[in-house]
Amino acid sequence: MDFKFTPEDEAFRAEIRDFVRGAVPPDMARRTRQGWHSSKADLKAWNRILHERGWSAPHWPKEFGGTGWTPLHIYIFEEECARADAPFLSYFGLRLIGPLLYTFGSDDHKERFIGDILGGETFWCQGFSEPASGSDLASVRTTAVRDGDHYVVNGQKIWTTEAHYADKMFCLARTDPALKPQKGGLSILLFDMDTPGVTVRPIVTIDGGHSVNEIFLDHVRVPAGDVLGKEGQGWDQAKFLLNNERVTNAQVPRSKRDLELLREIAAREPAGDGRMIDQPDIRHRIAQLEIDLNGLEWSVLRELFNEGEGQSQAFASGLKIIGSEIQQRITELAVDLVGAKGLAYYESYSDHANDLPGDAPDHVVGLAARQLFLRAATIYAGTNEIQRSIIAKQVFGI
């Protein structure tokens, strides 16, 4: 065991910090701090900036445009990006379909799609969840029926994040109703969002924001060649994604930044003759969050260093459970810190903070909305209840 960062690690961090600090435009940083889902323009711009440096997908293998960094260095990179209030790059291309493409995709698919994902030119969305298929992915009903050299896709997808930004969808569908979903009945199809028959309808979430959508697929014709890998591999590909999200779902870099911002808010917010950060109850709550986040961070470090040694999915499930709960608690405390000002509702990216109560300081804008939105953190990426079932099965054979 050796728990020290090496001088090389520290030098690497300094290099990243120097670049990232200078590269995030201040107005973009401000919008990221406000916490609404990033605009497509911001995501695209930041993706381009990183891509020019060769850093848009550090976690990818070098041969496909990644960096070849160690897991620790990738983590340090993400931490420094979060500290600089850089937007959190769109997940669906870089994190989900990108790795699926270089792992399962044909040479034709790699050639057509990977470059534009790296450059942030093409946005993707993930067509997995359906109205009757949430946690139970095997129950998807969307069908893709072969018709000559095409599949004809019919069905409905829901909770599709960034579908309104997306140029393309990777869509889980039943290609063979005779086979069990887990045994070759499912496939992932790739198609353009402007294909006739694709309709996107916004879903406004409880925070008043729009990041998720409902999608109707009505006789959408997809060339047979645009099934990912081979027909019938859908279940394995979906499971591959689950395994790929091991550490990212802990959201440690972002929560560390949020906690840092929270301390700044607590130091600015007045409380009688003093400040909120001087109040014993607030100090206690901040301390508890710091301690819990320290634990989560060290669990992530353990996970990063045990890579390849068969750490269980259960461990990653634990990271997701704790990480999502911490995100919720941080924003709950942040809203508490601003007192009655936390009642005011702000439209996304409003620049009118001063129209609202008490000439509200900038840090108030977006806070309450983010707290509301983060109720989703314990639901998305596998509800925390599903994670507990995974643990029960994997660790205890229950």
């Binding site: 320290n294 260093f305 045990n306 209840e385 643990i391």
Partner: protein
């Protein structure tokens, strides 16, 4: 950074594991703790033979020269096996304090050798009725009489006092300027004027109150004094705290294993308890908390070499996380056992009582939280960068 064990560490862990598996099952743990000494002397001799009692003694002082990470591997197994031997008192706390003494403490080499061989059983007397885990200002004081020191005071909850051959006692001594300064004094257990009252602790172990009535020791009994004594005490206590957290991890893991087994075997309503999702999910939550506590033990170990304030804040963070996890894990282990979990004959209660005891040893939740807050200040975040 590297989380995998070195070859030496693997050997050490395996030998500790083997000791628990082969010689320290639940019945042996019970009978060892029931020994009037509070532990089984044969086990102590074995620890000496295996080199564990010399683990943290530097090589130049004739020891193994291991570090806290090595000791944590042993302590995790001790937690699993409910080992009651005075390992922390003698081989960690006292060896650490004596090891940090300067050459001005003449008995250093002799005492370290006696600890390593297992011949000496040292116990640290630092807690007082009003000290509440603080070691800086004891109400035990020594005055000078000729070249001797005459020590008077009273210590409480002196762990492993019943078997101690020697005590390290905190108190003040007159400094060169005449002002009282903190000191650590070596007092053999048979010194005139020492009075011991023994009692059991909640986890079935032994502690003692120590009355110190005009105890005469030589000036050479001062192991350390002044700022060095305080730094040594706080450093060594922080090390022991993290090792206690490692022990708690072992206890939690064992409690979880017992509970999982119980849920699978026990039938109610015609099916196993494990088939009830609310119980299965509780068990999963116990696993999550255990792994979080384990991560915090690693972090605590990593921060033991940091500057004193950072170290102390990190250790208190580890202890908060560990005690909160342990309370949940071992408390729910009893809960999921149902009635049988309350029976004294069932091991699960022993794990619960042990982690409760750990949560009161050298600091409790309130003390650690206040220390953490005091050290992390209003505007700076230690650890969370």
């Amino acid at each position: 950074m590297q989380f995998t064990l070195s070859d030496e560490q693997t050997l050490l862990r395996d030998s500790a594991r083997r000791f628990i598996d082969e010689r320290h099952g639940f019945e042996e743990a019970r009978s060892a703790a029931a020994n009037p000494l509070g532990f089984e002397p044969a086990h102590w001799r074995l620890f000496a033979e295996l080199g564990w009692l010399a683990l943290l003694i530097p090589q130049e002082d004739g020891g193994i020269g291991g570090d806290a990470q090595d000791a944590a591997l042993v302590l995790e197994e001790f937690g699993r096996g409910l080992v009651a031997a005075p390992f922390l008192s003698s081989a960690v706390l006292s060896a650490g304090l004596i090891g940090s003494a300067s050459a001005a403490f003449p008995a250093k080499a002799t005492l370290l050798a006696r600890i390593a061989s297992g011949e000496a059983l040292f116990s640290l007397a630092c807690e007082e009725a009003a000290s509440r885990y603080g070691v800086a200002r004891p109400e035990t004081h020594a005055v000078r009489e000729g070249s001797d020191l005459i020590l008077t005071g009273r210590k409480i909850v002196v762990l492993d006092g019943v078997s101690a051959t020697d005590f390290l006692v905190t108190g003040t001594v007159p400094g060169p300027d005449g002002a009282a300064r903190l000191a650590i004094l070596h007092v053999p257990a048979d010194t005139r004027g020492l009075g011991l009252r023994h009692y059991r602790t909640i986890d079935g172990r032994r502690a003692s109150d120590l009355s110190i009535d005009r105890v005469r020791v030589g000036a050479d009994a001062v192991v350390a004094s002044g700022p060095e004594a305080l730094a040594a005490l706080e450093g060594v206590l922080d090390r022991v705290r993290v090792l206690l957290a490692a022990e708690a991890v072992g206890a939690m893991a064992a409690a979880i294993a017992l509970t999982a087994e119980h849920l699978k075997v026990r039938q109610q309503f015609g099916r196993s308890l494990a088939s009830f999702q609310t119980l299965a999910h509780r068990l999963s939550e116990m696993f999550v908390k255990l792994e979080n506590a384990r991560s915090m033990v690693y972090r605590g170990l990593a921060m033991l070499d940091a500057p004193a304030d950072e170290r102390a804040a990190a250790v208190s963070a580890t202890m908060m996380a560990s005690s909160q996890a342990a309370e949940f894990v071992c408390g729910q282990a009893i809960q999921l056992h149902g009635g049988i979990g309350m029976a004294d004959e069932n091991a699960v209660g022993d794990y619960y009582k042990r982690i409760r005891a750990i949560g009161k040893t050298y600091g409790d939740a309130s003390w650690h939280m206040r220390r953490y807050i005091a050290l992390t200040g209003a505007c700076k975040a230690v650890g969370v960068r």
